[in-house]
Symmetry: D2
Subunit: 434 residues, 4 copies
């Protein structure tokens, strides 16, 4: 169980320098725009008796500090993007650069190539020096201009690399595995007494990182997923007994499948990892689908890639280079099962299977994610300049916060079945209460 | 000052009926999806000593109740949309209808024509009976299929109208003025002992209603506003000493101007009602603009319609049919002042003025707003079916909540200058700290 | 070889009625807006000696006739949409309806359900009576509100159906197979002496119907295909030796693959049915791809579904319900071949395969296609009202024209390798001259 | 009247060099992709007797020549963008650069800053050397990365500038005035015996340049204009007797207003320069608008900026820096007249006026325009490399062609009232035949 002391952030040392940010208001009646370590945000917003320990759990608020640890003019920072693509990576790179270079006056900001691989000297990959010309147009582009790669690298080799290049601050943009790597970097760095601030920025298109309410990329994913669902709906309605089957991302958490279903309002069955569903029997998916076709003449099914994995139990399990369990393909599995089911019943259906995957994650960030990216990136810069380390930027109750990385990587975040989101799914489609 | 008792919601009476919603999970280990009146959400999420009275302010959570006040099969509901357009109105209408008709089984849902005017019998406007065929495609359309109008109508006449047609529930979608009208309706109805539930759904593209964190329509407005700012930026850069001047909505609050500036990352000056700015003098806007042109060759200015109204002091003040103060046109004013300033200095500039107004508010809702609309609408239905009245749906700390309307209409919401949003503006543009 | 007499259009009889269209200008100096049968459009616009027979080939211009065959108030028309979806079907339905109902005053316009199947009485499918309320919003929707189906039906059964319901005019929207069906309908109808006008409207997202320069749906397909190519490019650049492989539509003709490559300017290899390519050897695709990766670090390949079918020679060949040859999956084939090739060379690559298919064809029509649809649909109405039959609307040299259906179905249209389009592909990518 | 000799293109001299373009097919059975001067495209595609002189008018086909005038390795080229913005300018710049640099091997391509002003030495503006890094991402951006300016500059000063920098080829992207400037440059250059190829690329968002069927930018303008019309329609329908009035571009020609009306299918009155309309009287616009409101309750009016100028006769007439006549503001004029008319009749209306202007012209090019830009740009490069001068790229009957600039600037192109486009407008709205 999470304890208050698990939520205390580490610092490299005392903040002896005055922030160069011009955040004091000229007019005396306005509050300062600086934030303070002592201000903490509750994790639980439900009114509870104070004796309830959960009522006291809180996280340090993010934001610029009036006193900082690093002297900007003598600081070198670097940023690395790891793992699969998510809309907004370039926006994060751009805002990290602008905040450091323009606002703090940090003269040297490096872009590490191709993820953690680019932090090892034997990869042969050289960091690039970021400039205003280079980063200015990138916020309109999908992907990451730095490239990415999957998989861990030895912390020793990476700290060697950082020290050899005099890097004082490293921003690690990535998912669970990346944050674990950031934690290892922070520990190895501290072990050597190297005053390097390691600050994580969470990247999870699935929205499944703890202490992050809406990860950047997620809203864009919903937008694109809803477009694909609309196509599936159009296809389903265009045929006699048409079935549109859409596979969406979501290894452990069904946020994309659920959110896109609510956005589109055209989905009849939403299958997510958090809610097991029977395939066969009167209460199963196949029979429910048959009933839907009989009454409405068409149906749309959305399935998260991590849903229904129990159906594959006993089969071999593979992992990708980042160590993520490779799921069995539930989309193709359902496509085949449904086809077979209706064939056996001599019930002609027209099934269209859509698997948009890369298309969804490689597009530029939408308006909501652009704000998220900018604020996460600048919050990360403030944390780093104040000497915080081993910390990831999170969000809770409409505030950006500092989360100690160990607390992040020991948690996992899934969609609660009692949440507003899942209830919204159930209210908009008519699927059985499995 | 707000007191806890101001935040207690009124009810028409005891909830004697069982909800027809199938929200109990089949599997015993899962929580029920029903919400309870006793669950309340804190308004202030900062960790404070319990003795601090603000720490105790809270609102009743929204959501479906297990026991309800109205018998669905004998209930007639109606919905009315008032005031200026905002993206998402049709989505609200559609989700209110579907939740009532499909989920609760309410057989008769009426759409009131053209705002409160359509609730008066001498308007000659007849409500339309909403059907699945009618509402099914409307979530892809901007505007409101019911039409709208501005201005108040006598509560007596409207309650006469509701009683004459046997309407048990009325949903009032609109801004401050509309909610004031809803409150009057609720009072007049109670005075007569008419058991009519009046539930407000806040509509404010400016995002300036209290107890609503992100009003529907606002995110879509940012998206469209950012497109226009991008055009202004392109125009400014395409000319020698090009100036792009964009006027955006925001009578009392600068949320749209600020948010769109953060989204676009291309704005040099963001002028909002909350932050007065000097026009003349070395610290004034005009001199700062001149410095910007000298160093960068182009500039983009975004001004909220309510900004700089102090510059018009002493002039006549007009009001629209809803009683809103009609602002002087700050956009045209700045356009003329800037042109004059540089003409006097013999400094050739190419100023392009963009005033997108209607274009921004009449588009279909984007993905984020579609979720907001769906959840607000269904929350409103749950509140009404449970017999709540004189209540508006709000949002606080990531939860939808019930807000007594009197608490709403006595508050006003503006952008705090110490907020993350305004700080994000200042961090992304280089404007002076006025 | 095509002869001038092959291009003469058939008529049901003399045009004895005056058109109700108000197309005479009030001012005497303006030309009438009516078109005449005697006006013909050249098929070949190159300046040639008149003795060259191709110089004389021409088609009757489309457009409203001043004298018409049917009496509008006594006419019943119907429209049927067949085969796979293409953006713009609903726009065609809508404009056909409006032109008939609003402009000509035809009181009864029927929508046939689910393609030619809906023209057989034993399908049990009933036509729907189109109304303004029904068609008004459909131009913003993808797909077809009438539904579709694949495959031919007996002409006798369909003419029985038309006669039983008193249908005077039938619009057949579909591809090659559909036009063949329209021709059969026209012949059977004439055989019986039934004065039914059968008018075809070409639908081919692949743009491969003869005598149609830009079929509706094609421009929209390019737009969506280019979005997917952009995602593939982003993926390819985001990885070390990233390869983005995109399969696009195009059974017999590479117009979509070629056009989308020119739009995106990010494609390195464009593979189309018209240009065979070697897979192996120094001049083959695989070696060229390896050279590209070595020099640039990433590559994007676009392959039309009908490309490289010679690679499957000798394997079994299947057909769909419309009789179209089912192609072997060249996309999956290339994905596997490329993976294998680089594995054998111990050259690590990151291949991302995108197969957007349904997503591209199910979206609403874009601006260009909306104009095409409107003009094609209204041209078809004019042709039908003037008693033309066995005719399809085509386009040549910027004019809409009447094409006798037999001339259409005996031709096939592919992309010429000496065309501007294919040259544009070769100029924008660096692929070998296979 | 146009004579065949007016359509002969000038050349700098004999083409003594072999083209480096690899456009011969490897396989012997395929045609070469090179074009030849002797191939000419008919201007008139209607079948006419050969004795008709119009039947013989033709233009030289554009495209790469097998023999060229300039030696690529010793050639310096430059490109200049003039006048108001139009979507696609950056696409043109990019494709001109890539064709020259990548395909022909021209090592030095300069970008002239801010239009013709940047071709005068006393402007102080220096050309920039274009590189792959610089132009690679610009096709996704609106505007022109080179900047623009209005107005003519002395041909002598500009040829001095070209000679001083050793520029052999100049591409002039702009409208009528720009092409007149290009002609002057070509004449001055020939007078001096300076072998400089001057090639024009037509830019006209209004689509009003002769010998250019669909100018780049026009299709994008339709797309954005249709979005604004949709907003106007939504506003009009949202109010009681709502009127949406939209002013669009179109000084001399109504192509944008007409095309956008056909796209949107929601316009009731389309007012263009080519068709005068009475304001008052039973047949006038105001009375027709009143009838429309009485029958339908709302109306949408689209007015081209050059429409109804006869209403201002006798007032002062101003010109902009490019010498274009500044029109009186017909949009504001109609807004006031309509308001006054209904006020006098005590007929309450809600008029919403939308003037999107800059927003429409500053966006990135859409898919159709991207193809146009690419092909126009590369055609211009081929013409220039072959030593053509005083020539503009045009399009006729689906082919790109070479047009002698004097033939362009003495013609003017307006929308013919008997065209398919205007007929489509009249068929989709119900406006009187003025």
């Amino acid at each position: 169980m999470l304890m208050p002391q698990d939520l205390i952030v580490k610092s490299l040392g005392a903040c002896e320098h005055i922030s160069p940010l011009k955040l004091e208001s000229a007019s005396h009646h306005q509050a300062s725009y600086f934030a303070e370590d002592s201000q903490r945000i509750r994790l639980d917003v439900k009114l509870r008796p104070e004796s309830d320990p959960e009522a006291q759990l809180s996280l340090e608020v993010a934001g610029p500090r009036q006193r900082i640890y690093f002297r900007p003019a003598h600081t070198t920072a670097a940023i690395v993007t790891c793992g699969g693509l998510s809309p907004g990576l370039n926006n994060v790179i751009r805002s990290v650069f602008y905040e450091l270079f323009e606002n703090y006056g940090v003269p040297r900001v490096l872009g590490i190539k191709n993820g953690y691989l680019g932090l090892t000297s034997n990869s042969g990959l050289e960091p690039i020096l970021l400039t205003k010309e280079f980063v200015e147009p990138i916020d309109k582009l999908g992907g990451t201009v730095l490239g990415s790669s999957r998989g861990a690298q030895p912390a020793e080799a990476m700290v060697d690399f950082l020290q050899a290049r005099g890097i004082d601050i490293l921003f690690c943009v990535g998912g669970d595995g990346t944050q674990r790597g950031a934690h290892a970097l922070s520990q190895e760095s501290q072990r050597r007494g190297a005053n390097i601030a390691i600050v994580g920025i969470p990247k999870t298109i699935d929205n499944d990182i703890a202490f992050v309410r809406l990860a950047f990329g997620y809203a864009t994913a919903l937008e694109k997923a809803a477009e694909v669902i609309q196509a599936a709906h159009v296809e389903a309605r265009g045929a006699i007994n048409g079935i549109g089957l859409v596979k969406l991302m979501g290894r452990h958490a069904g946020f994309i499948a659920a959110g896109a279903s609510v956005v589109s309002q055209e989905v009849d069955f939403t299958l997510v990892p958090e809610v097991p569903f029977p395939l066969d029997g009167a209460e199963g998916l196949l029979a429910a689908l048959e009933r839907r076709l009989q009454s409405a003449g068409h149906a749309v099914i959305v399935v998260a890639e991590g849903a229904g994995q129990f159906l594959f139990e006993g089969t071999n399990q593979l992992r990708d280079a980042s160590g993520n369990l490779l799921h069995q393909d539930i989309g193709a599995f359902l496509r085949d099962k449904i086809t077979e089911y209706f064939k056996q019943r001599d019930f002609p259906v027209a099934l269209k299977y859509l698997d948009p995957s890369y298309f969804i994650r490689s597009v530029p960030a939408n308006v909501f994610d652009r704000i998220q990216c900018d604020q996460m990136a600048r919050s990360a810069v403030h944390a780093a300049m104040a000497g915080k380390t081993g910390v990831m930027i999170g969000s809770a109750s409409d505030h950006f916060v500092h989360v100690p990385i160990p607390a992040v990587v020991t948690q996992s975040k899934v969609m609660e079945v009692s949440s507003d989101l899942w209830r919204a799914v159930l209210q908009s489609n008519g699927q059985p209460r499995w």
